[in-house]
């Protein structure tokens, strides 16, 4: 019930912008933010929509990931994300404990982890292939 009232007010807020009155807002809707950059996937009007435009490049075999590069990628994360990654992936704490420490539900932790890991993945991928990183 609380959520639905919140949504209703929010919809009013967002849609109220279309009212265009002097104190209403400029209309800008936000499509859901994709985890991986949408540019990496084929568009709706291309063959195989939503499939990789270009497969991710394979990484060199084991132990080629530099801990320094990984730390740099970790440092580049937004603070709340880095915190969750440290607790869950590095310290290996279970979701329940992380919930107590951060206030994030297990579901929210997974959402954060998915995005954070993807950012690290992009960052490492750039480091491994310097010629592709420029664009």
């Amino acid at each position: 019930m609380k959520v639905s009232i919140g949504r209703m007010i929010a919809n009013l807020g967002a849609r109220g912008r279309a009212l265009g009155n002097r104190f209403a807002w400029w209309s800008r809707w936000f499509p859901p933010a994709p985890t991986v950059d949408a540019e990496r996937f084929r568009g709706a009007d291309e063959p195989y929509p939503d499939h990789w435009r270009e497969f991710p490049r394979p990484w060199p075999a084991a132990n080629a990931l530099e801990p320094e590069a990984l730390k740099a990628a970790l440092a580049a994360l937004p603070d709340p994300w880095r915190r969750v990654v440290i607790l869950r992936d590095i310290d290996g704490r279970p979701p329940g404990e992380v919930s107590a420490a951060t206030g994030l539900t297990a579901e929210q932790q997974r959402d954060v982890l998915n995005r954070a890991r993807e950012l690290i993945w992009e960052e490492l991928g750039r480091g491994l292939e310097p010629d592709r990183g420029g664009s």
């Binding site: 959520v3 919140g6 949504r7 007010i9 929010a10 919809n11 009013l12 807020g13 967002a14 849609r15 109220g16 912008r17 279309a18 009212l19 265009g20 009155n21 209403a24 807002w25 400029w26 209309s27 800008r28 809707w29 936000f30 499509p31 859901p32 933010a33 994709p34 985890t35 949408a38 996937f41 709706a44 929509p49 939503d50 499939h51 990789w52 991710p56 990931l65 801990p67 970790l74 937004p78 603070d79 709340p80 994300w81 915190r83 969750v84 440290i86 992936d89 979701p95 951060t102 929210q108 997974r110 959402d111 982890l113 998915n114 995005r115 954070a116 890991r117 993807e118 950012l119 993945w121």
Partner: protein
């Protein structure tokens, strides 16, 4: 379908508090309720009010794109602060002005404030929620709270402004606004803004506009709804902009403007609540709304009673709020989520563009024949809205309603269910859930089926697993990488 009661983490509420305070203070624009009264005092007539409205209607769309780019490239908090500075400057120029030209300049500076503040708070809230929770699910809840705080500021300032004008002067309300906006700046300065541009890349406004035009050309259903949204917006804006002129014509006392404006502004909120309850798509309700709006618009053309006049304007504003909300729902139903932003921007731009000539003609007609006569222009616009509404509602009957905003994960699940298969773009949203064993058996089967046949996703999944494995090896971490402000639970 993933359903859950999303909880707000403590840090999110704490982080958004300064923003809420800033937004509330920014809403305390004391001169808004008595603006039209003040304008007539310094020599405006209906026609020049129209010119003034057209002047800022022209500024806003011009500055919208540059301010949006600036906000994304530089800092959104600072764009809000610049908007506040423009608002303070506009209040100062407005308060000092003794003739039409000076006040039109103030109105154009106000246009800068509109352009800078519009959409900026939304994107800040969106990115903050994403940074704190990893998902946009709580966005609607929080933008709703912030809009509620903002509306409370508007209502409060409406009441306070009218009283202040009665006991001091209309001019004083302009100067009294300046320190309040200054306090809002302090709130925005204390806000820790999200810096997530690389992860939460929004579609650029230019591509929104390009997509909008493509949609407008290819889809006739969208064109009709778009016109409906724009004309309903135009009409609503006209009521807010020119409504006070009726009060001026009847020589209403200054103290009445505050409550009048407060009630008028509150129709936006009440209309929003009602729109969720009423079934606008039903014939009877549709007919009632149309008759009500037409009757109130016509009432405005001949009544000389202040009470009837205010009641008519409030009812008209309320009906328009309901219609506008239903219209934008139709619009969102008619376009896929990927171009929703672009199409909505197009509707907003169209409203401003339509409003520009409308306000000029309205002002001119009001001066030549009295503001009551130009009420016929409102009635004419009501007829246009009614026709478009009937056409759009009829076209939409039978179409399945669409959830307004989905999280990326919810959308991925829904898309894959509709398409009967999981595509790569949707799979990447579900990797963390897969690794945590949180997928439904059905989704898990789809996930594994896709992975077994797709080299790209196999690489992505194995690289993600490798990242997780190597992260584990980093433990224990050096201090400089520890999360800041570790709290005790």
């Amino acid at each position: 379908m993933i359903t859950k009661d999303a909880a707000t983490p403590r840090t999110l509420a704490r982080r958004l508090l300064p923003l809420q305070i800033g937004v509330a203070l920014q809403g305390l624009i004391l001169w808004v309720p008595i603006e039209k009264l003040f304008m007539t005092q310094i020599g405006f007539d209906a026609a020049t009010v129209g010119v003034m409205a057209a002047a800022y209607a022209a500024v806003v769309p011009l500055l919208e794109v540059p301010s949006g780019i600036l906000a994304d490239r530089w800092s959104r908090s600072w764009i809000l602060i610049l908007g506040c500075v423009a608002l303070m400057l506009s209040s100062l120029i407005g308060g000092l002005s003794r003739n039409v030209i000076a006040y039109v300049i103030a109105a154009m500076v106000l246009g800068i404030y509109f352009a800078f503040s519009s959409g900026t708070v939304d994107s800040i809230v969106y990115d903050t929620v994403l940074e704190e929770t990893g998902s946009n699910e709580l966005y609607e809840t929080w933008i709703g709270r912030i809009r509620a705080v903002e509306s409370a500021g508007f209502v409060l300032s409406s009441l306070a402004g009218g009283v202040l004008a009665q006991y001091t002067s209309t001019r004083f309300t302009y100067f009294a606004t300046i320190p309040l906006i200054g306090l809002a700046i302090i709130g925005f300065l204390r806000f820790n803004e999200p810096r997530l541009h690389q992860a939460a890349e929004r579609v650029s406004l230019r591509s929104h506009v390009a997509l909008t035009f493509r949609t407008m050309i290819t889809s006739r259903a969208v064109v009709g709804v778009l016109l409906l949204v724009a004309t309903a917006g135009l009409l609503s804006q006209a009521v807010f902009e020119f409504g006070p002129l009726w009060l001026v014509a009847l020589a209403a006392p200054a103290v009445l403007y505050g409550p009048y404006w407060a009630v008028l502004v509150s129709t936006l909120g009440i209309g929003g609540l009602l729109a969720g309850k009423l079934h606008v798509e039903r014939r009877l309700m549709l007919a009632m709304l149309i008759i009500l709006s037409l009757a109130t618009a016509l009432l405005l053309t001949w009544t000389r009673s202040l009470a009837v006049l205010v009641a008519a304007q409030v009812v008209l504003a309320l009906v328009l709020a309901i219609v506008a909300i239903h219209a934008s729902r139709l619009l969102h139903d008619a376009v896929p989520s990927s171009i929703r932003a672009g199409v909505s921007s197009g509707a907003g731009t169209m409203t401003w563009i339509l409003f520009l000539p409308f306000s000029l003609v309205f002002g001119w007609a009001a001066r030549e024949n009295g503001v009551h006569w130009s009420g016929f222009m409102l009635a004419g616009a009501v007829v246009v809205v009614a026709v478009l509404l009937v056409v759009s509602v009829r076209a939409s009957r039978g179409a399945a309603p669409v959830e307004v905003a989905l999280t990326a994960k919810e959308e991925a699940v829904e898309v894959s269910q509709r398409a009967q298969e999981l595509a790569c773009k949707q799979l990447v949203e579900l990797v963390a859930d897969y690794l945590d064993d949180a997928l439904s058996p059905e989704m898990r089967a789809k996930f594994e089926e896709h992975i077994s046949g797709c080299d790209g996703c196999t690489i992505y999944l194995s690289q993600t697993q490798r990242i997780i494995a190597e992260l584990k090896d980093l433990s224990p971490l050096p201090d400089n990488l520890e999360a800041p402000r570790t709290e005790r639970a």
